[in-house]
Protein backbone atom coordinates (compact mmCIF):
# COMPACT_ATOMS: atom_id res chain seq x y z
CA UNK A 1 0.00 0.00 0.00
CA UNK A 2 2.88 2.35 0.65
CA UNK A 3 3.48 2.62 -3.10
CA UNK A 4 0.05 4.19 -3.52
CA UNK A 5 0.88 7.14 -1.27
CA UNK A 6 1.73 9.59 -3.99
CA UNK A 7 0.09 12.49 -5.79
CA UNK A 8 0.16 13.38 -9.47
CA UNK A 9 -0.46 16.83 -10.89
CA UNK A 10 -0.23 18.30 -14.36
CA UNK A 11 -0.45 21.99 -15.13
CA UNK A 12 1.10 24.51 -17.48
CA UNK A 13 0.12 27.14 -20.01
CA UNK A 14 -0.54 27.80 -23.65
CA UNK A 15 0.81 31.07 -24.98
CA UNK A 16 0.78 33.24 -28.06
CA UNK A 17 3.37 35.94 -28.79
CA UNK A 18 3.32 38.50 -31.54
CA UNK A 19 5.89 41.24 -31.91
CA UNK A 20 7.95 43.50 -34.04
CA UNK A 21 11.69 44.04 -33.79
CA UNK A 22 12.66 47.20 -35.65
CA UNK A 23 10.80 46.35 -38.87
CA UNK A 24 10.71 42.54 -38.59
CA UNK A 25 7.48 40.83 -37.49
CA UNK A 26 7.59 37.59 -35.53
CA UNK A 27 5.12 35.39 -33.71
CA UNK A 28 5.16 32.27 -31.65
CA UNK A 29 2.76 29.68 -30.28
CA UNK A 30 3.94 27.78 -27.23
CA UNK A 31 2.61 25.13 -24.85
CA UNK A 32 4.24 24.23 -21.58
CA UNK A 33 3.37 21.12 -19.59
CA UNK A 34 4.54 20.70 -16.02
CA UNK A 35 4.04 17.34 -14.35
CA UNK A 36 4.78 16.30 -10.80
CA UNK A 37 4.59 12.94 -9.10
CA UNK A 38 5.22 13.41 -5.39
CA UNK A 39 5.53 10.98 -2.53
CA UNK A 40 7.13 10.86 0.89
CA UNK A 41 10.16 9.00 -0.45
CA UNK A 42 10.70 10.55 -3.86
CA UNK A 43 9.48 12.86 -6.61
CA UNK A 44 9.51 13.14 -10.36
CA UNK A 45 9.33 16.58 -11.93
CA UNK A 46 9.03 17.16 -15.64
CA UNK A 47 8.64 20.41 -17.63
CA UNK A 48 8.43 20.41 -21.38
CA UNK A 49 7.91 23.34 -23.77
CA UNK A 50 7.07 23.05 -27.42
CA UNK A 51 5.96 25.53 -30.01
CA UNK A 52 6.28 27.15 -33.38
CA UNK A 53 8.30 30.28 -34.09
CA UNK A 54 7.83 32.45 -37.14
CA UNK A 55 10.42 32.92 -38.51
CA UNK A 56 12.29 29.92 -37.17
CA UNK A 57 10.09 26.83 -37.14
CA UNK A 58 9.13 24.29 -34.52
CA UNK A 59 11.05 23.67 -31.33
CA UNK A 60 10.87 21.47 -28.29
CA UNK A 61 12.70 21.86 -24.99
CA UNK A 62 12.74 19.53 -22.02
CA UNK A 63 13.32 22.15 -19.34
CA UNK A 64 13.22 19.76 -16.39
CA UNK A 65 13.15 15.99 -16.01
CA UNK A 66 14.45 14.95 -12.62
CA UNK A 67 14.04 12.07 -10.22
CA UNK A 68 14.56 12.72 -6.52
CA UNK A 69 14.83 10.16 -3.76
CA UNK A 70 14.75 11.03 -0.07
CA UNK A 71 16.58 8.78 2.35
CA UNK A 72 16.53 10.15 5.88
CA UNK A 73 18.37 13.49 5.71
CA UNK A 74 19.69 12.94 2.17
CA UNK A 75 18.19 13.91 -1.17
CA UNK A 76 19.52 12.25 -4.33
CA UNK A 77 18.72 14.00 -7.61
CA UNK A 78 19.34 12.66 -11.09
CA UNK A 79 18.32 14.45 -14.26
CA UNK A 80 17.78 17.97 -15.46
CA UNK A 81 16.67 20.53 -12.92
CA UNK A 82 17.01 24.13 -11.81
CA UNK A 83 18.67 24.72 -8.47
CA UNK A 84 19.77 28.30 -7.79
CA UNK A 85 23.09 28.52 -5.93
CA UNK A 86 23.25 32.29 -5.51
CA UNK A 87 21.25 35.13 -3.97
CA UNK A 88 21.29 37.55 -6.89
CA UNK A 89 18.17 38.10 -8.98
CA UNK A 90 19.45 39.16 -12.41
CA UNK A 91 23.17 38.84 -11.81
CA UNK A 92 24.46 36.02 -9.64
CA UNK A 93 28.20 35.47 -10.01
CA UNK A 94 28.13 33.11 -7.03
CA UNK A 95 25.83 30.69 -8.84
CA UNK A 96 28.34 28.23 -10.26
CA UNK A 97 25.70 25.84 -11.61
CA UNK A 98 23.38 27.74 -13.94
CA UNK A 99 24.02 29.71 -17.13
CA UNK A 100 24.05 33.47 -16.79
CA UNK A 101 20.62 35.11 -17.03
CA UNK A 102 20.32 36.72 -20.44
CA UNK A 103 18.44 39.96 -21.04
CA UNK A 104 17.42 38.71 -24.48
CA UNK A 105 16.93 35.01 -23.92
CA UNK A 106 14.64 34.38 -20.94
CA UNK A 107 14.33 30.70 -21.87
CA UNK A 108 17.86 30.25 -20.58
CA UNK A 109 16.43 30.53 -17.08
CA UNK A 110 13.51 28.24 -17.86
CA UNK A 111 15.76 25.39 -18.83
CA UNK A 112 17.51 23.36 -16.15
CA UNK A 113 20.96 21.84 -16.04
CA UNK A 114 21.78 18.14 -16.30
CA UNK A 115 23.18 16.94 -13.00
CA UNK A 116 23.69 14.37 -10.31
CA UNK A 117 23.16 16.13 -7.01
CA UNK A 118 23.33 14.85 -3.44
CA UNK A 119 22.20 17.15 -0.67
CA UNK A 120 22.12 16.71 3.08
CA UNK A 121 19.71 18.71 5.22
CA UNK A 122 19.24 17.58 8.77
CA UNK A 123 18.30 20.91 10.31
CA UNK A 124 16.67 24.08 9.07
CA UNK A 125 19.92 26.00 9.32
CA UNK A 126 22.44 24.04 7.26
CA UNK A 127 22.63 22.40 3.84
CA UNK A 128 25.47 20.46 2.29
CA UNK A 129 25.41 19.74 -1.41
CA UNK A 130 27.65 17.85 -3.84
CA UNK A 131 27.09 18.07 -7.57
CA UNK A 132 28.36 16.52 -10.79
CA UNK A 133 27.52 18.37 -14.00
CA UNK A 134 28.27 16.78 -17.37
CA UNK A 135 29.23 19.05 -20.27
CA UNK A 136 26.15 21.11 -21.12
CA UNK A 137 24.78 21.72 -24.58
CA UNK A 138 26.55 24.60 -26.25
CA UNK A 139 23.36 26.43 -27.33
CA UNK A 140 22.48 27.16 -23.72
CA UNK A 141 25.73 28.75 -22.70
CA UNK A 142 28.07 31.16 -24.36
CA UNK A 143 31.21 29.12 -23.77
CA UNK A 144 30.65 25.34 -23.72
CA UNK A 145 31.40 23.83 -20.34
CA UNK A 146 33.42 20.76 -19.64
CA UNK A 147 32.40 18.38 -16.92
CA UNK A 148 32.14 20.14 -13.57
CA UNK A 149 32.20 18.84 -10.04
CA UNK A 150 31.59 20.88 -6.95
CA UNK A 151 30.10 21.37 -3.53
CA UNK A 152 28.29 24.00 -1.51
CA UNK A 153 27.55 24.65 2.13
CA UNK A 154 24.65 26.92 3.09
CA UNK A 155 24.15 28.26 6.61
CA UNK A 156 21.24 30.27 7.98
CA UNK A 157 21.69 31.72 11.44
CA UNK A 158 20.38 34.81 13.26
CA UNK A 159 18.67 36.05 10.09
CA UNK A 160 21.97 35.87 8.13
CA UNK A 161 22.17 33.52 5.17
CA UNK A 162 25.55 32.61 3.77
CA UNK A 163 27.05 30.04 1.44
CA UNK A 164 30.42 28.88 0.25
CA UNK A 165 30.75 27.02 -3.05
CA UNK A 166 33.65 25.38 -4.83
CA UNK A 167 33.54 24.12 -8.40
CA UNK A 168 36.19 22.40 -10.48
CA UNK A 169 36.10 22.59 -14.25
CA UNK A 170 39.19 23.71 -16.19
CA UNK A 171 40.15 25.60 -13.06
CA UNK A 172 38.90 25.84 -9.50
CA UNK A 173 36.30 28.50 -8.82
CA UNK A 174 35.33 29.62 -5.33
CA UNK A 175 32.24 31.65 -4.54
CA UNK A 176 30.58 32.96 -1.43
CA UNK A 177 27.50 35.00 -0.63
CA UNK A 178 25.61 36.59 2.22
CA UNK A 179 22.02 37.86 2.59
CA UNK A 180 20.18 39.60 5.41
CA UNK A 181 16.88 41.36 6.09
CA UNK A 182 17.77 44.72 7.64
CA UNK A 183 14.67 46.65 8.73
CA UNK A 184 12.67 45.34 5.78
CA UNK A 185 15.47 46.00 3.27
CA UNK A 186 16.92 42.78 1.87
CA UNK A 187 20.67 43.23 1.42
CA UNK A 188 22.86 40.68 -0.35
CA UNK A 189 26.29 40.24 -1.81
CA UNK A 190 28.25 37.64 -3.74
CA UNK A 191 31.91 37.14 -4.56
CA UNK A 192 33.46 34.74 -7.06
CA UNK A 193 37.10 34.08 -7.79
CA UNK A 194 39.18 31.68 -9.78
CA UNK A 195 41.90 30.00 -7.74
CA UNK A 196 45.11 30.49 -9.66
CA UNK A 197 47.94 32.99 -9.98
CA UNK A 198 45.76 35.33 -12.08
CA UNK A 199 42.71 35.31 -9.83
CA UNK A 200 39.74 37.03 -11.43
CA UNK A 201 37.18 38.42 -9.01
CA UNK A 202 33.55 39.04 -9.80
CA UNK A 203 31.24 40.54 -7.23
CA UNK A 204 27.63 41.54 -6.72
CA UNK A 205 25.89 43.89 -4.31
CA UNK A 206 22.10 43.96 -4.27
CA UNK A 207 19.12 45.29 -2.41
CA UNK A 208 15.41 44.60 -2.71
CA UNK A 209 12.49 46.17 -0.94
CA UNK A 210 8.71 46.06 -1.16
CA UNK A 211 7.12 49.50 -0.83
CA UNK A 212 3.44 50.14 0.01
CA UNK A 213 2.79 46.40 -0.41
CA UNK A 214 2.61 46.53 -4.22
CA UNK A 215 5.83 48.19 -5.38
CA UNK A 216 8.88 45.99 -5.62
CA UNK A 217 12.30 47.54 -6.12
CA UNK A 218 15.47 45.58 -6.90
CA UNK A 219 18.89 47.11 -7.55
CA UNK A 220 22.08 45.23 -8.30
CA UNK A 221 25.64 46.32 -8.97
CA UNK A 222 27.72 43.68 -10.73
CA UNK A 223 31.48 43.77 -11.21
CA UNK A 224 32.41 41.32 -13.93
CA UNK A 225 35.95 40.03 -13.44
CA UNK A 226 35.84 38.41 -16.86
CA UNK A 227 34.76 41.65 -18.57
CA UNK A 228 36.84 43.83 -20.85
CA UNK A 229 37.15 47.55 -21.45
CA UNK A 230 36.23 49.22 -24.74
CA UNK A 231 39.96 49.63 -25.50
CA UNK A 232 40.55 45.90 -25.00
CA UNK A 233 37.50 45.22 -27.15
CA UNK A 234 38.92 47.36 -29.96
CA UNK A 235 42.21 45.43 -29.79
CA UNK A 236 40.39 42.11 -29.99
CA UNK A 237 38.31 43.42 -32.88
CA UNK A 238 41.49 44.23 -34.76
CA UNK A 239 42.72 40.66 -34.44
CA UNK A 240 39.30 39.24 -35.34
CA UNK A 241 38.24 37.92 -31.91
CA UNK A 242 34.79 39.44 -31.76
CA UNK A 243 32.38 38.11 -29.23
CA UNK A 244 29.61 40.06 -27.56
CA UNK A 245 27.72 38.51 -24.68
CA UNK A 246 25.13 41.18 -23.89
CA UNK A 247 25.16 42.10 -20.22
CA UNK A 248 28.47 40.34 -19.53
CA UNK A 249 30.99 41.93 -21.90
CA UNK A 250 31.94 45.01 -19.84
CA UNK A 251 33.32 45.22 -16.35
CA UNK A 252 30.62 47.04 -14.38
CA UNK A 253 26.84 46.83 -14.59
CA UNK A 254 23.83 48.24 -12.84
CA UNK A 255 20.55 46.32 -12.90
CA UNK A 256 17.32 48.09 -11.95
CA UNK A 257 14.02 46.31 -11.53
CA UNK A 258 10.87 48.22 -10.57
CA UNK A 259 7.44 46.65 -10.55
CA UNK A 260 3.95 47.39 -9.37
CA UNK A 261 1.66 44.40 -9.18
CA UNK A 262 -1.68 43.46 -7.70
CA UNK A 263 -3.17 40.01 -7.43
CA UNK A 264 -5.72 40.99 -10.08
CA UNK A 265 -5.78 43.77 -12.65
CA UNK A 266 -3.01 45.81 -14.21
CA UNK A 267 0.64 45.55 -13.24
CA UNK A 268 3.58 47.58 -14.48
CA UNK A 269 7.28 46.92 -14.66
CA UNK A 270 10.49 48.61 -15.72
CA UNK A 271 13.78 46.74 -15.98
CA UNK A 272 17.10 48.10 -17.12
CA UNK A 273 20.72 47.04 -17.44
CA UNK A 274 23.33 49.74 -17.72
CA UNK A 275 26.89 48.90 -18.72
CA UNK A 276 28.71 51.60 -16.77
CA UNK A 277 32.10 51.68 -18.47
CA UNK A 278 30.71 51.02 -21.94
CA UNK A 279 27.91 53.59 -21.41
CA UNK A 280 25.34 51.35 -23.04
CA UNK A 281 21.94 50.20 -21.80
CA UNK A 282 18.91 48.08 -22.52
CA UNK A 283 15.51 48.76 -20.96
CA UNK A 284 12.26 46.83 -20.84
CA UNK A 285 8.91 48.36 -19.90
CA UNK A 286 6.00 46.00 -19.32
CA UNK A 287 2.27 46.14 -18.70
CA UNK A 288 0.49 43.01 -17.50
CA UNK A 289 -3.22 42.36 -17.05
CA UNK A 290 -4.51 39.52 -14.87
CA UNK A 291 -8.19 40.48 -14.68
CA UNK A 292 -9.42 37.35 -16.49
CA UNK A 293 -9.29 34.08 -14.60
CA UNK A 294 -6.28 31.92 -15.52
CA UNK A 295 -5.16 34.31 -18.26
CA UNK A 296 -2.39 36.88 -18.25
CA UNK A 297 -1.81 39.50 -20.95
CA UNK A 298 1.61 41.08 -21.38
CA UNK A 299 2.82 44.03 -23.39
CA UNK A 300 6.60 44.52 -23.52
CA UNK A 301 8.55 47.38 -25.02
CA UNK A 302 12.30 46.86 -25.34
CA UNK A 303 14.75 49.61 -26.18
CA UNK A 304 18.51 49.20 -26.61
CA UNK A 305 20.83 52.19 -26.75
CA UNK A 306 22.79 52.95 -29.88
CA UNK A 307 26.15 52.52 -28.16
CA UNK A 308 28.39 49.51 -28.29
CA UNK A 309 27.50 46.32 -26.37
CA UNK A 310 23.70 46.64 -26.43
CA UNK A 311 23.95 48.68 -29.61
CA UNK A 312 25.62 45.66 -31.21
CA UNK A 313 22.57 43.46 -30.67
CA UNK A 314 21.25 44.12 -34.13
CA UNK A 315 18.06 45.88 -33.11
CA UNK A 316 17.11 49.01 -31.20
CA UNK A 317 13.40 48.64 -30.51
CA UNK A 318 11.03 45.77 -29.99
CA UNK A 319 7.38 45.52 -29.04
CA UNK A 320 5.86 42.21 -27.94
CA UNK A 321 2.30 41.21 -27.05
CA UNK A 322 1.94 37.94 -25.21
CA UNK A 323 -1.09 36.15 -23.82
CA UNK A 324 -0.86 33.09 -21.60
CA UNK A 325 -3.68 30.78 -20.53
CA UNK A 326 -2.77 28.77 -17.45
CA UNK A 327 -4.30 25.39 -16.67
Amino acid sequence: MIFLLFSISVNGYSAYYIGITDSLFFNRIEVKLKSEVKSQSGDFLGDIRTGYNYPGGTYISIDRASFKIYVKDFQFLLGKDRIPWGFGYFYSPGDLVNPEYSPLDPERIEEGVEMIDISFRRSQSTSLEFILLPAQKAHRIIVPDDIRIGGRIYVFTNSFESYLSLMKKNEYILSTGIRKDYLGYILYGELKSTINALSRFSSLMGINKTLYNNFYVNLEYFHNGDGITTTEYDSLQNIGRLHINPGYTGKNYLYTGLSYSRDEGFGYGFYSIYSIDWESFISVASITYTGIKDATFYLYGIYASNDREFGDLGFRKSLVINVKFFF
Binding site: N11, D73, Q124, F156, G184, T210
Partner: protein
Protein backbone atom coordinates in the same frame (compact mmCIF):
# COMPACT_ATOMS: atom_id res chain seq x y z
CA UNK B 1 -20.52 30.06 39.25
CA UNK B 2 -18.70 28.95 42.37
CA UNK B 3 -16.37 31.12 44.42
CA UNK B 4 -13.55 28.82 43.38
CA UNK B 5 -14.14 29.35 39.67
CA UNK B 6 -14.45 33.11 40.17
CA UNK B 7 -11.10 33.09 41.93
CA UNK B 8 -9.66 31.07 39.06
CA UNK B 9 -10.90 33.55 36.48
CA UNK B 10 -9.37 36.49 38.23
CA UNK B 11 -6.15 34.68 39.01
CA UNK B 12 -5.19 33.75 35.46
CA UNK B 13 -2.13 35.67 34.37
CA UNK B 14 -1.74 37.33 30.95
CA UNK B 15 1.09 34.89 30.19
CA UNK B 16 -1.05 31.85 31.03
CA UNK B 17 -3.97 33.19 29.00
CA UNK B 18 -1.74 33.82 25.97
CA UNK B 19 -0.41 30.28 26.19
CA UNK B 20 -3.95 28.90 26.31
CA UNK B 21 -4.97 31.04 23.33
CA UNK B 22 -1.95 29.93 21.31
CA UNK B 23 -2.60 26.30 22.19
CA UNK B 24 -6.26 26.65 21.21
CA UNK B 25 -5.50 28.23 17.80
CA UNK B 26 -3.80 25.17 16.31
CA UNK B 27 -1.73 22.11 17.26
CA UNK B 28 1.98 22.74 17.63
CA UNK B 29 2.71 20.79 14.44
CA UNK B 30 0.14 20.52 11.69
CA UNK B 31 -0.68 20.46 8.00
CA UNK B 32 -3.70 22.31 6.66
CA UNK B 33 -5.47 23.36 3.48
CA UNK B 34 -6.76 26.93 3.47
CA UNK B 35 -8.69 29.06 1.01
CA UNK B 36 -8.11 32.80 0.99
CA UNK B 37 -10.54 35.19 -0.75
CA UNK B 38 -9.58 38.84 -1.23
CA UNK B 39 -12.52 41.25 -1.60
CA UNK B 40 -11.79 44.69 -3.04
CA UNK B 41 -13.78 47.92 -2.68
CA UNK B 42 -14.79 47.81 -6.37
CA UNK B 43 -16.43 44.41 -5.90
CA UNK B 44 -13.68 42.27 -7.40
CA UNK B 45 -12.61 39.15 -5.57
CA UNK B 46 -9.85 36.61 -6.09
CA UNK B 47 -9.42 33.24 -4.48
CA UNK B 48 -6.28 31.26 -3.58
CA UNK B 49 -6.04 27.70 -2.27
CA UNK B 50 -2.91 26.80 -0.31
CA UNK B 51 -1.28 24.01 1.63
CA UNK B 52 0.37 25.01 4.88
CA UNK B 53 2.77 23.04 7.07
CA UNK B 54 3.71 24.43 10.48
CA UNK B 55 6.06 23.25 13.21
CA UNK B 56 6.49 24.95 16.57
CA UNK B 57 9.78 26.87 16.94
CA UNK B 58 10.75 25.95 13.35
CA UNK B 59 8.48 27.86 10.99
CA UNK B 60 5.65 27.72 8.49
CA UNK B 61 5.79 26.54 4.88
CA UNK B 62 3.06 27.50 2.44
CA UNK B 63 2.50 26.31 -1.13
CA UNK B 64 -0.06 27.56 -3.64
CA UNK B 65 -2.33 24.91 -5.16
CA UNK B 66 -4.51 27.28 -7.19
CA UNK B 67 -5.21 29.40 -9.21
CA UNK B 68 -3.22 27.81 -12.02
CA UNK B 69 -1.25 31.03 -12.55
CA UNK B 70 0.18 30.83 -9.03
CA UNK B 71 0.58 27.07 -8.66
CA UNK B 72 3.99 26.15 -7.30
CA UNK B 73 4.66 29.49 -5.63
CA UNK B 74 6.06 28.79 -2.16
CA UNK B 75 6.57 30.83 0.99
CA UNK B 76 8.57 30.08 4.10
CA UNK B 77 8.60 31.96 7.40
CA UNK B 78 11.25 31.25 10.02
CA UNK B 79 11.17 33.68 12.94
CA UNK B 80 11.15 37.19 11.46
CA UNK B 81 12.45 35.98 8.09
CA UNK B 82 10.45 35.34 4.94
CA UNK B 83 11.33 33.75 1.62
CA UNK B 84 9.34 33.26 -1.56
CA UNK B 85 10.13 30.80 -4.34
CA UNK B 86 8.81 31.79 -7.76
CA UNK B 87 8.87 28.82 -10.15
CA UNK B 88 8.85 30.98 -13.30
CA UNK B 89 12.24 32.52 -12.52
CA UNK B 90 13.65 29.72 -10.32
CA UNK B 91 14.72 32.17 -7.66
CA UNK B 92 14.38 32.16 -3.88
CA UNK B 93 13.56 35.81 -3.14
CA UNK B 94 13.76 37.11 0.39
CA UNK B 95 10.99 39.49 1.52
CA UNK B 96 9.88 41.27 4.68
CA UNK B 97 7.35 39.68 7.02
CA UNK B 98 5.76 43.11 7.54
CA UNK B 99 4.41 43.32 4.00
CA UNK B 100 0.93 42.25 2.95
CA UNK B 101 0.46 38.68 1.79
CA UNK B 102 -0.45 38.42 -1.93
CA UNK B 103 -2.61 41.56 -1.95
CA UNK B 104 -4.64 40.43 1.04
CA UNK B 105 -5.39 42.29 4.25
CA UNK B 106 -3.22 39.81 6.13
CA UNK B 107 0.44 40.56 6.55
CA UNK B 108 2.82 37.71 5.84
CA UNK B 109 3.22 37.39 9.59
CA UNK B 110 -0.55 37.14 10.25
CA UNK B 111 -1.10 34.34 7.81
CA UNK B 112 2.02 32.31 8.32
CA UNK B 113 2.34 32.32 12.09
CA UNK B 114 -0.20 30.48 14.17
CA UNK B 115 1.20 31.56 17.56
CA UNK B 116 1.49 35.06 19.06
CA UNK B 117 3.98 34.26 21.81
CA UNK B 118 7.09 34.52 19.65
CA UNK B 119 6.44 38.11 18.56
CA UNK B 120 4.22 39.65 21.24
CA UNK B 121 4.30 39.94 25.04
CA UNK B 122 1.10 39.78 27.07
CA UNK B 123 0.44 43.00 28.95
CA UNK B 124 -2.95 42.90 30.64
CA UNK B 125 -6.32 41.17 30.84
CA UNK B 126 -9.65 42.95 30.84
CA UNK B 127 -12.20 40.53 32.30
CA UNK B 128 -14.99 42.98 33.08
CA UNK B 129 -15.80 44.94 29.90
CA UNK B 130 -17.61 42.08 28.13
CA UNK B 131 -19.58 39.45 29.98
CA UNK B 132 -18.03 35.94 29.94
CA UNK B 133 -15.10 37.12 27.84
CA UNK B 134 -11.49 38.09 28.33
CA UNK B 135 -9.74 40.80 26.39
CA UNK B 136 -6.01 40.15 26.33
CA UNK B 137 -3.66 42.98 25.32
CA UNK B 138 -0.34 42.17 23.67
CA UNK B 139 2.53 44.46 22.78
CA UNK B 140 5.19 43.88 20.16
CA UNK B 141 8.52 42.48 21.33
CA UNK B 142 10.39 44.19 18.49
CA UNK B 143 9.85 46.67 15.66
CA UNK B 144 10.18 43.89 13.08
CA UNK B 145 6.53 42.84 13.53
CA UNK B 146 3.68 44.60 11.72
CA UNK B 147 1.64 45.82 14.72
CA UNK B 148 2.57 47.56 17.95
CA UNK B 149 -0.44 46.29 19.88
CA UNK B 150 -2.99 43.48 19.53
CA UNK B 151 -6.19 42.89 21.49
CA UNK B 152 -7.68 39.40 21.54
CA UNK B 153 -11.21 38.70 22.76
CA UNK B 154 -11.83 35.10 23.88
CA UNK B 155 -14.71 33.24 25.46
CA UNK B 156 -13.90 32.30 29.05
CA UNK B 157 -12.93 28.65 29.52
CA UNK B 158 -12.79 28.13 25.74
CA UNK B 159 -9.78 30.28 24.80
CA UNK B 160 -10.58 30.28 21.08
CA UNK B 161 -10.27 33.86 19.80
CA UNK B 162 -13.51 35.47 18.62
CA UNK B 163 -12.17 38.89 17.72
CA UNK B 164 -8.65 40.25 17.19
CA UNK B 165 -7.89 43.96 16.86
CA UNK B 166 -4.59 45.15 15.39
CA UNK B 167 -3.14 48.59 16.17
CA UNK B 168 -0.44 50.72 14.57
CA UNK B 169 2.49 52.27 16.41
CA UNK B 170 0.50 55.48 16.89
CA UNK B 171 -2.30 53.51 18.53
CA UNK B 172 -4.68 53.68 15.55
CA UNK B 173 -6.92 50.67 14.95
CA UNK B 174 -5.74 49.27 11.61
CA UNK B 175 -7.35 45.85 11.16
CA UNK B 176 -10.12 43.80 12.70
CA UNK B 177 -10.43 40.02 12.47
CA UNK B 178 -13.56 38.03 13.28
CA UNK B 179 -13.25 34.29 13.85
CA UNK B 180 -16.25 31.95 13.55
CA UNK B 181 -17.51 28.46 12.64
CA UNK B 182 -15.51 26.50 15.18
CA UNK B 183 -14.94 22.88 14.14
CA UNK B 184 -13.19 19.96 15.76
CA UNK B 185 -9.97 18.85 14.04
CA UNK B 186 -8.17 15.98 15.77
CA UNK B 187 -9.56 17.18 19.12
CA UNK B 188 -8.68 20.85 18.52
CA UNK B 189 -11.55 23.32 18.35
CA UNK B 190 -10.43 25.71 15.64
CA UNK B 191 -12.25 28.55 13.86
CA UNK B 192 -12.68 27.70 10.18
CA UNK B 193 -13.79 31.17 9.12
CA UNK B 194 -11.66 34.27 9.57
CA UNK B 195 -12.56 37.67 8.20
CA UNK B 196 -9.86 40.35 8.26
CA UNK B 197 -11.08 43.87 7.56
CA UNK B 198 -8.90 46.77 6.57
CA UNK B 199 -10.39 49.64 8.56
CA UNK B 200 -8.66 52.27 6.46
CA UNK B 201 -10.46 51.24 3.24
CA UNK B 202 -14.20 50.63 3.06
CA UNK B 203 -15.37 47.22 1.77
CA UNK B 204 -11.84 45.88 1.66
CA UNK B 205 -11.54 42.56 3.46
CA UNK B 206 -10.06 39.09 3.22
CA UNK B 207 -11.74 35.85 4.20
CA UNK B 208 -9.77 32.74 5.08
CA UNK B 209 -11.54 29.39 5.27
CA UNK B 210 -9.86 26.39 6.82
CA UNK B 211 -10.72 23.35 4.68
CA UNK B 212 -8.80 20.71 6.59
CA UNK B 213 -6.26 20.38 9.36
CA UNK B 214 -4.36 17.36 10.60
CA UNK B 215 -1.89 17.17 13.43
CA UNK B 216 1.46 15.88 12.16
CA UNK B 217 3.95 14.59 14.69
CA UNK B 218 6.86 13.91 12.34
CA UNK B 219 7.56 16.91 10.16
CA UNK B 220 11.15 16.90 8.91
CA UNK B 221 13.14 20.01 9.81
CA UNK B 222 14.42 20.31 6.22
CA UNK B 223 10.99 21.64 5.17
CA UNK B 224 11.88 24.81 7.12
CA UNK B 225 15.35 25.15 5.63
CA UNK B 226 15.28 28.17 3.24
CA UNK B 227 17.67 26.38 0.89
CA UNK B 228 15.12 23.56 0.59
CA UNK B 229 12.58 25.81 -1.15
CA UNK B 230 14.37 25.22 -4.44
CA UNK B 231 13.70 21.48 -4.36
Amino acid sequence: MTIFSIMFIFSISPEALLQKIDNARAPENFESIIVMINHYPDGREIQYRMKSISKKDKGTYLEFLSPAREKGRKFLVVGDNLWMYVPGVSRIIRLSVKDNFMGSNFTNNDLMKSRFEGDYSPVSIDSTSIKNKYILSLKAKSSSVPYSKIEITVQRNEYTPKLILYYTLSGKLLRRMELNSIKDFDGYKIPTYMKMENLLTKNNYTIVRLESLIERKNIHNRIFNPDNLKR
